[in-house]
Amino acid sequence: MNTKPPRNFLLLDELERSEKGASDGSCTYGLENPEDDVFMINWVGSILGPPNTHFQNRIYAVKLKCGMDYPKVPPTVVFETKINLVNVVKADGTVDPKMLDVLNKWDSTSSHTLLSVLMGLRNLMAKDPHRKAIQPEEGTTYVVKKTDSVQAGR
């Protein structure tokens, strides 16, 4: 018999951790629209570029989406800030889940969280060959597609 914490309470825990400032500040996240997203689907995150890389001192904005089948299905991740992370981030800013270990080996029973997704991306930035990749002009963003806000039934 299943006794695992259900999706909503997992995400509430995630939210609480971010509200209490669980991370070291290099990655932060929160609900995109806390006023009106009772199912906690749309999240925003930010990653501070790691030191000694071309990402250094830049802040990368990311959108994460946790569908109703989270955590069975990992979140989708899209960069808002333009970034050059070859093979990982596609031309429209979406992260290829196959190229990010956290997402590729996503296991709903393990302790994978939104924070670990952001940290995973940050770790990639710090590694070769990405470390020294020339980055787009600071502050440029991908063309924003209108977020189709998921309206789950009340």
Partner: protein, 160 residues
């Protein structure tokens, strides 16, 4: 584990055999620790005409730790925030392992009748409640009509 499961099974059993008036709690899908709750607003409150949905989860350490509960219906209440999280002492430091799902739900229902704007979770709502209670209650009634399911009561006629 077996001890706790036994308690949960008993609680579920009792809830079924002897339901609390105006409250229905049922396990969701196959998860014995996860409940869907429907709660009628208390009679003498701005929430009287609504039936509200909540979800409740019993963590592994239950009953040594309290259940996790939140409203899924949007609520206008100083102690309930935009995500439905509830500020209630027995869900936090005043939890007692001798409390049950039943008592927790009754306490939440009581909180609807007796909002406590001095210990707010939703600051803007609490502020409104303190400065203009009449208007706050009006808004609560409006939200109830807008977001909650309508309750058909036997005593509606009597009240009117």
């Amino acid at each position: 584990m077996s001890m706790v499961s036994k308690r949960i099974l008993k609680e579920v059993d009792r809830l079924r055999q002897d339901p609390v008036p105006g409250i229905v709690a049922e396990p969701i899908e196959d998860n014995i620790r996860y409940f869907s709750v429907r709660m009628n607003g208390p009679n003498d409150s701005p929430y009287a005409d609504g039936c509200f949905t909540l979800e409740l989860y019993l963590p592994d350490e239950y009953p040594m730790l309290p259940p996790k509960v939140r409203f899924l219906t949007k609520m206008y209440h100083p102690n309930i925030d935009k995500l439905g999280r509830i500020c209630l002492d027995i869900l936090k430091d005043k939890w007692s392992p001798a409390l049950q799902i039943r008592t927790v739900l009754l306490s939440i229902q009581a909180l609807l009748s007796a909002p406590n704007p001095d210990d707010p979770l939703a600051n803007d709502v609490a502020e409104q409640w303190k400065t203009d209670e009449r208007k706050a209650i009006e808004t609560a009634v409006k939200w109830t009509a807008l977001y909650a399911e309508r309750v058909v009561r036997n005593d509606v006629a009597k009240r009117e």
